[in-house]
């Protein structure tokens, strides 16, 4: 997913305003992916060290991730939640675990304490959430959402995540939450540079940010479908619109055909 160069990539980097904006959007989210990659590296090293010591990891081991998580929450203004989410069965002492930290409205960093007891909570199984299932099933990093995150933050969010593997086996995901209002604040100035209304859609056509009052964030743009543009990794024209992929991300910029 990281191939920004290569014959296809370079061929499309002709400097239209749209490709410039798409690159800017990519840059915004790559900063968040950097934070995810650091958590991923920390978690991989920690779990490998414990396993090499000849025992299964326990939830208390994950406390070693906290300084790094707190640092990323403090340093990356877009990130409102960060952590490592264990594959159920990974840890020896608990069936499931989220080592998850969030910045509250006062800027304080707080742990997320979830009730993961299936006898009491309807939300104890987190393995079907896209931010967990996609990295697990594809082995790739993922942008999930926008979606209402009623598990962790109650916010309309994007979650960026990457799989953590130890000795070739999936151990969980490293992830970071970006509230959609913060994402909008970061990318709207880019979209506003374009001469006409424009919006970003995810791979399934959900509008993620927009300067087009007819296509507001959260709505579904039934046409045009972003799949072709994402698969070909270059701009395509469809249904009177121009679709420009944000290279390396499952996001497509949609503008009216000039």
């Amino acid at each position: 997913m990281r191939s920004s160069s290569g014959p296809v990539g370079t061929a499309t980097l002709d400097a239209t305003p749209e490709t410039g904006v798409a690159a800017g959007v990519r840059c915004v989210l790559e900063a968040v992916f950097d934070a995810v990659a650091q958590t991923r590296a920390d978690a991989t090293a920690l779990l490998s060290r414990v396993t090499a010591g000849g025992r299964r990891p326990v939830s208390a081991d994950l406390a070693a991730l906290r300084p790094g998580l707190h640092l990323r929450l403090a340093r990356c203004p877009l990130v409102s939640g960060a952590g490592f989410v264990a594959r159920p069965g990974l840890l020896d002492d608990v069936p499931a675990w989220l080592e998850w930290w969030q910045s509250d409205s006062a800027g304080e960093v707080q742990p997320l304490l979830l009730d993961l007891d299936p006898q009491r909570s309807a939300y104890s199984d987190y393995t079907h959430w896209e931010w967990f299932a996609l990295p697990r099933d594809t082995g790739e990093r993922t942008v999930a959402g926008p979606y209402v995150d009623y598990l962790c933050s109650d916010e309309y969010s994007l979650t960026l995540s990457a799989p953590v593997t130890v000795a070739g086996r999936f151990a969980g995901v490293a992830a970071a939450d970006v509230y959609l209002r913060h994402f909008e604040a970061a990318v709207l100035p880019l979209l506003q540079r374009l001469p006409g209304p424009a919006y970003l859609v995810n791979a399934r056509g959900r509008v993620t940010a927009s300067t087009d009052p007819g296509h507001l964030a959260g709505s579904l743009a039934k046409e045009p479908r972003p799949a072709a543009s994402l698969a070909r990794r270059r701009p395509v024209s469809e249904a009177g619109r121009r679709l420009v992929p944000c290279d390396g991300l499952p996001l497509v910029l949609v503008v009216a055909e000039p």
Binding site: P88, G89, V94, P95, A96, D115, L116, D117, P118, Q119, R120, S121, A122, Y123, H128, E130, P146, Y147, V148, Y150, D154, E155, Y156, R204, G205, R206, G218, S219, L220
Partner: protein, 274 residues
């Protein structure tokens, strides 16, 4: 605890009616215990401190604690190390839930149902406009779990989760938060009506039709179906409430509630490795 605020504030501003204040405190603490916000065995603050936090007199608080003791949700130990402690009975008795239901007036239940129908109806309408296959997967999974859940508490959790997921499918954080809040109030009560297999199946059927309407993008009919589903459940709760002793209609035998499955290993199962 936020959800009990409305009741408590109402009570605070009706100084002549001490009963209402006692009931508001009983309901708030009872909900918190039922939901696990106050853990089994946890010590409650001292009487004067707790009364101060809740904005009621110590006399009112004592009456409320007495009612909670009668429901088996609080035990009081005297002497050194004594105080009031949360006590979650192993068995989630139907009687305990009926006592909770008796704390609601039919007018309050009707109003709760109106609020719930407004939130779920609006969520269904928007979800029909904004849905994609992925949203339906979660709703279908919850529907499936409801159809296979044996005990009333699990059915109630799945009922609530369906409506929370519906609000999330509407892409509305506000409606989702509102629905989560509603479920903390109504979730425990729903156990009383969902114990009946026939009604569980009816709810599952209604949820199935909501999913179909959402999938078809039929927003008006999605709204209507979701409203009807929750209105019907509220109507059943009101009928149960009217059948409880101490109301004008007098005591009548309750249908179906004896079927509620008891969960003897409530605290034991969860730490098993999946």
């Amino acid at each position: 605890m936020k959800q009990g605020m409305g009741g408590a504030r109402r009570a605070v501003f009706t100084p002549v009616d001490n009963r209402a204040r006692v009931e508001a405190v009983v309901r708030r603490l009872g909900d918190a215990i039922e939901l696990g916000l106050l853990a089994d065995g946890e010590q409650l603050p001292g009487e004067s401190e707790l009364a101060g936090q809740l904005g009621v007199s110590t006399v009112t608080l004592r009456e409320a604690l007495m009612a909670l003791r009668q429901q088996g949700l609080v035990i009081t130990r005297r002497g050194r190390g004594g105080g009031s402690f949360v006590s979650l009975p192993e068995l989630p008795g139907t009687e305990r839930l009926q006592a909770r239901l008796a704390g609601w007036s039919t007018e309050e239940l009707r109003d709760l149902g109106d609020h719930w129908a407004a939130v779920s109806g609006a969520a269904a309408r928007l979800a029909a406009q904004r849905t994609e296959p992925e949203d339906l997967l979660q709703l279908r999974r919850t529907l499936d779990e409801l159809a296979h859940a044996d005990d009333a508490a699990a059915r109630s959790r799945m009922y609530g989760r369906f409506h929370v997921e519906l609000a999330a499918a509407a892409q509305s954080a506000r409606l989702t938060r509102e629905q989560v809040g509603l479920q903390t109030e109504i979730g425990a009560l729903l156990c009383l009506v969902l114990a009946q297999d026939a009604y569980r199946e009816e709810v599952a059927e209604r949820h199935r039709s909501v999913i179909s309407a959402v999938q078809d993008g039929a927003s008006d009919s999605a709204r209507e179906l979701a409203e009807r589903c929750v209105q019907e459940s509220t109507a059943r709760l009101i009928a149960l409430r009217l059948a409880l002793p101490g109301t004008a209609s007098g005591p009548r035998p309750l249908e179906g509630t004896h079927e509620e499955q008891l969960r003897p290993r409530r605290h034991g199962d969860s730490r098993r490795d999946p």
